[in-house]
């Protein structure tokens, strides 16, 4: 089985979010970038398939050279090879188009992406990629088993879960549950050394027009201070929630 794991290069959750160029660009100054958490669960599940069932695992990112340390980290965790499509990630559709080309060229059976990235939260790329490549698609996936070309997956739905059966080729929008948090791997020294020797292929971009454009960013208005209520005066809390906040 050939697995491709899509790796989004995202600011760490604790990053300060600021913008430059008249609020049109994300300010990367002083920001630490990490593998998108939802992708990391997928990568770890891919490593499980590699070790238990036999599979090759490649990772891919669409972006400039600055994303290579994130791909190297994925190699250090255990992926066999990495691909960087050399073009800025402009919108979900353009990224999906680039990934569709990678999938076609590489003949991947299973593509695992995160359900969404933690920067733009679009939840667009996996579904678009599936549709562009004619693959089956399951998102919010919390369990995945593959047997030959058959797959069983569990999808988290509002208020419960759903079990589906499908076949490869398949695109997964993964999240926590594909593996547990405790199964996530921190690269060890041997992995980091080996990652330096592993192939990181730079692919030129195919022609893909974006369909949406960011005009500008804006930060929410600063929040007012918390109103503290004494534990001895819970009537006041009830009254505030009813009369002021109007939520009960």
């Amino acid at each position: 089985m050939k697995i491709l794991v899509c790796i989004s290069h995202v600011p760490d959750t604790t990053s300060k979010i600021n913008f430059t160029d008249g609020d049109t660009k994300f300010d990367t100054n002083g920001v630490q970038f990490v593998i998108n958490p939802n992708d990391e669960f997928g990568l770890t599940r891919a490593m499980w398939f590699k070790e238990k069932q036999g599979a090759t695992v490649d990772v891919v990112n669409v972006g400039g050279p600055e994303t290579e340390p994130t791909l190297r980290k994925a190699l250090a965790i255990g992926a066999d090879g990495a691909i960087r499509v050399n073009t800025p990630a402009t919108d979900g559709y353009a990224v999906a188009k680039q990934l569709a080309n990678v999938v076609k060229e590489g003949g991947y059976d299973l593509v695992i992406a995160g359900r969404e990235s933690i920067d733009y939260n679009g939840a667009m790329v996996p579904g678009m990629l599936a549709e562009l490549t004619g693959a089956n698609f399951v998102t919010n996936c919390i369990n995945l088993e593959v047997d030959g070309t058959n797959a069983k997956a569990i999808r988290e739905i509002d208020g419960g879960k759903e079990t589906v059966s499908t076949t490869l080729p398949l695109v997964i929008g993964g999240q926590k549950g594909l593996v547990e948090e405790s199964d996530l791997r921190i690269p060890n020294m041997r992995g980091i050394m080996m990652a330096r020797q592993k192939p990181l292929k730079v692919m030129e971009a195919v022609n893909a027009t974006k369909e949406t454009s960011t005009v500008k960013f804006e930060k929410p208005a600063p929040k007012g201070a918390v109103k503290l209520v004494s534990p001895d005066n819970l009537d006041e809390l009830v009254s505030l929630l009813h009369n002021e906040a109007k939520v009960i």
Partner: protein, 320 residues
């Protein structure tokens, strides 16, 4: 030309998000000088949609659509969009609609903007305000294609009533098979889901153990709320993973979020800060959650929560 809105239902009844996206579609239609057509799949009574600005309802009734299937539903909505000559399709951001929207967008050669929180700031160029960076910023985005798909965040635009009424028309699209088969759906029918809840009551490690969740559930019951928990609580196995809210768990966009014994790690706040009003109950006045909350009580949850539940019971009795 009319704006098409997918109004979700469950067991024949519209979900609240259906009325919210209908209200949104009406706002878009007003900006564009056109009407609103809804597509309703296996809904019993569609007349209610008129109240929220829908002019015409395409009613699809087919037992093959009893179970949600993203690709099939996307195909049905696409057929409706083509029949209506639609330029803008509006969907919610429920788990199901988020699943089908990217598929629908590719099928319609449409640009798609998700997590939209306000009516378009401009109809031409078509510009929408979306949340980004897990609610730490907004992103104003233009959709540059002829046909557009807009995903409206739940509980963002609200319900807007109109005086109109909707005409209903039966619609019988082709219902194609596809390669994903739903084997079973496992859904607690007696509980409010986190996605649908207007109020969410959430517990953290400060509650000391799963045996103490009775008071969280009691408070939730009084308020008709869903229960949720922080990540450590689900990692420790005190509560099921499906209750974990936060960045890697479920997102919450409730009217009221009550956090009990949750310190407010940044990953937790990222998942819940789309909620309108936040109340925190914690023994530690330095807990970071107090900086993110609207109302706070510093004190022992084991003392405060049962008393608060009683106060709310009295309040509900008086205001019933």
């Amino acid at each position: 030309m009319s704006v098409l809105v997918y109004t979700e239902s469950e067991k024949g009844k519209f979900k609240k998000v259906a009325f919210e996206v209908a209200s949104y579609a009406k706002a878009v239609a007003n900006q564009m000088g056109t009407t609103v057509t809804a597509i309703a799949i296996n809904a019993d009574d569609v007349s209610e949609l008129g109240t929220y600005g829908v002019d015409k309802v395409l009613k699809v009734n087919d037992s093959k659509l009893d179970t949600f299937n993203a690709k099939t539903y996307a195909n049905v909505i696409k057929q409706a969009a083509e029949k209506e000559g639609t330029k803008v399709v509006v969907v919610s951001q429920s788990a199901d609609s988020k699943y089908l929207a990217p598929i629908l967008a590719v099928n319609l050669d449409a640009g798609y903007a998700s997590n939209v929180v306000e009516a378009p700031t401009s109809a031409s160029p078509f510009t929408v305000k979306r949340t980004a960076f897990t609610n730490k910023a907004f992103n104003f985005t233009t959709i540059d294609t002829d046909v557009k798909v807009v995903g409206v965040s739940n509980n963002s635009f609200g319900l807007v009533e109109n005086s109109g009424s909707a005409t209903a028309e039966n619609f019988s699209p082709n219902i194609p098979e596809n390669g994903v088969h739903v084997d079973s759906v496992d859904k607690a029918s007696n509980k409010v889901s986190i996605a649908d809840a207007e109020i969410v009551v959430s517990g953290g490690r400060g509650l000391k153990g799963p045996e103490n969740w009775g008071m969280v559930e009691d408070l939730a019951n009084v308020l008709g709320a869903a229960t949720a928990c922080s990540k450590p609580v689900s990692d420790l196995g005190w509560r099921p993973h499906s209750e974990h809210v936060g960045q890697t768990g479920k997102p919450v966009a409730a009217n009221l979020y009550i956090a009990i014994g949750i310190s407010g790690a940044i990953q937790h706040l990222a998942g819940i800060n789309a909620s309108k009003v936040k109340v925190v109950i914690n023994t530690d006045p330095e807990a970071p959650f107090f900086k993110a909350a609207d109302y706070g009580v510093v004190g022992d949850a084991f003392d405060i929560v049962p008393r608060l539940t009683e106060k709310l019971k009295e309040f509900k009795a008086q205001n019933a």
